[in-house]
């Protein structure tokens, strides 16, 4: 298993456009990929499948929140590093 934590720093967080880019990227890999985060208000731990758009949207990730990406499978390394790159690039937003 490969995992990493990263802070989402784009303007609004994971709303539909960045989430769809994230899911699109995740779908290029065969590994099982999960994204989780901790709601700072309730302390609740939320987890979603990185290949499901509605799953990612229900995480409610806003600017400044940390997410935890976990991948398991043949291409786990590549999957995690590609997703991290996407988040670091702020999903190509200006």
């Amino acid at each position: 298993m490969k995992d990493t934590k990263i802070v989402v720093n784009n303007k609004v967080g994971l709303h539909a456009r960045p989430a769809s880019l994230f899911v699109q990227e995740a779908n290029k890999y065969s590994s099982d990929i999960q994204v989780s985060c901790k709601d700072p208000d309730s302390g609740e731990n939320r987890e979603a499948n990185a290949k499901s758009i509605l799953g990612i949207l229900t995480l409610g990730v806003y600017q400044g929140m940390e997410i935890h990406i976990k991948a398991e499978g043949d291409d786990e390394e590549a999957a995690v590093s590609a997703l991290v790159k996407l988040v670091e690039a702020n999903f190509g937003e200006d």
């Binding site: 967080g13 769809s20 779908n27 806003y62 600017q63």
Partner: protein, 295 residues
């Protein structure tokens, strides 16, 4: 409509697909006379001509015919008066007669001429009417366009054209689809051959003309292909300078395409009514997320 006389003068081109009532010309005012259009002699023109002396009547009608008008149409089933006959014969202008009143005739003839003159293309694709939404199914052969259309017909929707659809642009700027006359009402289903749709599913299963609202591009399932997962990015396809919304749908074994396309059509209808589910959800998310990050 019937021929009054002058059938031997056909064929004659109609340079401008419109109608003109030559009332003003008959009074002797020929400036701006639209001689390139079909000339309609209605009740008013007839009555006015009757008020003139025979010599003047002939002179004015000759002036009209001399300008090489395409043809003349007499409405309300009136017959040609002798002066009209001789002037038209002199300049070889065919004259026709219609039982309609003038205004009706002008409307009907305008619509017919517009349709005849409308730009028209043939495209590969099957067109169906899904609850008032005209959907053109396109995609490589063997992907199941006809089978999907068949499943939609079984769900109570109507077929416009199978395999080859004729598209024309009407005067309001809409694209209208219809079938090629010869193969109309027929479908080809691989393994079955040609079937006659209204015999099997009733007359309600056919629709002859339908406005095109949505193009569905069926394509083979490719997990690596970048696919719009939100429906936020709207694509369009252009036919004769008119753009029509386009949706790309991947086909996979076991995926009920008829059901998915039915939903796509309904969603299109909803968008046209001003509700875009993807945009509305995104706006809701943006609001919630922005508010939270400010706290």
């Amino acid at each position: 409509m019937e021929l009054e006389f002058g059938g031997e003068y056909f064929p004659r081109p109609i340079p401008e697909s419109a109608i003109n009532r030559p009332g003003l010309a008959l009074t002797g005012f020929f400036r701006h006379f639209s001689y390139r259009r079909i000339q309609v002699i209605g009740l008013a023109e007839f009555d006015y001509l009757r008020s003139l002396t025979a010599a003047l009547r002939l002179e004015r009608i000759r002036e009209v015919c001399r300008r090489d008008i395409p043809c003349m149409v007499l409405t309300r089933n009136r017959h040609a008066i002798p002066e009209l006959m001789s002037a038209a014969q002199e300049y070889q202008i065919p004259v026709m007669r219609s039982p309609m009143i003038t205004s009706r005739f002008i409307n009907a003839a305008t619509i017919i001429m517009e349709n005849l003159a409308a730009p028209q293309i043939r495209v590969q694709g099957t067109m169906v009417d899904i609850m008032g939404i005209g959907v053109l199914l396109q995609g490589p052969p063997g992907l199941g366009k006809s089978e999907t259309a068949l499943a939609l017909i079984e769900r109570g929707h109507s077929l416009v054209a199978d395999d080859v659809t004729v598209l024309r642009r009407d005067s309001e700027g809409f694209v209208i689809g219809s079938a090629v006359q010869v193969t109309r009402y027929h479908m080809e289903i691989r393994g079955l051959g040609i079937i006659h749709v209204p015999s099997l599913f009733g007359v309600a299963s056919m629709r002859s003309n339908m406005r095109l609202d949505l193009v569905i591009q069926m394509q083979p399932w490719d997990p690596a292909a970048d696919m719009d997962r939100t429906g936020l990015n709207s694509e369009t396809m252009t036919f004769m300078d008119v753009s029509v919304p386009l949706i790309r749908l991947p086909v996979a074994p076991g995926r009920d395409m008829a059901q998915v396309i039915e939903v796509a059509a309904l969603n299109q209808k909803l968008k046209r009514m001003g509700h875009d589910a993807a945009k509305e959800l995104d706006q809701k998310l943006v609001n919630v997320l922005t508010e939270k990050s400010r706290m």
